[in-house]
């Protein structure tokens, strides 16, 4: 379980996350939406322990992401914003490194599922954005993580690739907590079971996603206008 309790994150005088609280349980697919600079990436980085909260508590399975870092990271998969990858390595070299670190012995299954076998021997810098995104996702999926944090997982993908990723997220969420951020509101309608809307560091909405086509977008626009 992920638990954020009155979490604040400030960079100098600028508040990036202001008083955020929420809980996430296994089986939930949480769509995390907000305009650019709303605090989505900062919140994800706080959950991974890459950033330290200025105030408040974060617990992952009752553990602290800063002090119990290794224990938490061994069952957490993370796709960071902009998907930073070492371009000078081949996909094979990179994924075998990640699978060694995360003790994943069934990397072939992930490769097959994400359809990256055809670029397996290629250098990452030679890949298209879509393939790079799949490699980043494959790395996040290594080690059978209980928690998946995906920062804009469909960014730069064409509609067919987006569908592949969306189906994968749905499949993965059965035994996991999946939190994914996105700009594409229709993805929330397709994939998420729960919706978090954030703006200027504050959580504006936390609840079951509204039903009906365009309802997420309508709610989003209404809340952003208000805030």
């Amino acid at each position: 379980m992920i638990e954020l309790l009155r979490v604040f994150k400030r960079f100098g005088m600028k508040g990036a996350v202001l008083d955020i609280s929420f809980k996430a349980q296994q089986g939930e697919i949480i769509g995390f939406v907000g305009p650019n600079g709303a605090g989505k990436t900062t919140t994800m980085r706080l959950i991974t322990g890459f950033l330290k909260p200025t105030e408040g508590k974060i617990k992952i399975d009752n553990k602290n992401p800063i002090t119990d870092r290794l224990s938490i990271l061994s069952h957490l998969g993370y796709l960071p914003e902009n998907n930073p990858l070492p371009g000078d390595m081949t996909v094979k070299e990179y994924l075998s490194f990640i699978s060694n670190v995360k003790k994943e012995d069934k990397i072939e299954k992930i490769i097959e599922e994400l359809r990256i076998d055809e670029v397996y021997e290629k250098k990452i810098e030679q890949l298209s954005r879509g393939y790079k995104q799949r490699v980043g996702l494959a790395a996040a999926l290594c080690g059978k993580p209980d928690i998946l944090l995906l920062d804009e997982p469909t960014s730069g993908l064409d509609p067919i690739e987006q569908d592949v990723i969306k189906d994968l997220i749905k499949k993965l969420a059965k035994k996991r907590i999946v939190i994914f951020s996105t700009h594409i509101l229709s993805e929330i309608e397709d994939v998420a079971t729960r919706l978090l809307i954030i703006n200027r560091g504050s959580l504006l909405f936390d609840g079951t996603k509204p039903k009906g086509k365009g309802s997420v977008e309508a709610l989003f626009k209404k809340l952003i206008k208000k805030s």
């Binding site: 322990g49 330290k52 800063i66 290794l70 930073p84 000078d88 670190v101």
Partner: protein, 233 residues
Amino acid sequence: MKALYKKELMQLLNSPVGYSVPIVFALFLGYLFIKDVFIIGSASLKPFFSIAPWLLFVLVPALSMRSISEEKRANTIEVLLTLPLSEGTIVLAKLLSLFTLIAITLGLTLSVPLVLGLISSLYVPEIIIGYGGLLLLSLLYLSFSLYISARVSNQIASFAISVIILFLVTTLSSDFLANILPKSVQDILILGSPLLHLDNFVKGVVDFRSLSYFILLIVIFFKFTVTELQKRI
């Protein structure tokens, strides 16, 4: 740790700096030695051991400048720090992979004593201890340069800062300045001089104080680098 060490070494060996700088270093040292043998007529390893440290303070930062600063610039540090690897493991793997490359580079210069052995008699333990001293000095320079690389996000700045500081430390404590600085200041600087401690090894002596000096400073800079990575803003 093994996986990260392997990845780091592979990345180093695949980079232009990783394979060109060690070859240039070995060729240059070999040239200097051959010049001494055939032009001056001196067949000794002393010039080799006295020049090597001056080249190492350029070679080591050139190899290590990318190590952490580039990870920060490209933000791959976020991937690394969100893997189940401790900061100590990350620094150790980076340090050992760089050290392996330096050891290979110094291994390439073994042609110097081999050639010397053909034309004169050599005392092998002295050469082994001398090389051991160079390896310790390299590890100290590496440990320091890696710390600078962790502090700076620009690899060129990381290289420049490391070279300047290592140059100052090496120069200030060398004979070069012995006549310029007051004797009391010079005495203190010489005590902390990496060259003075290396000199004991070059003479074929494993001095406990020199060994402790290298180990202590290597551990201190290693710890500083780990602390730098542990900082969470």
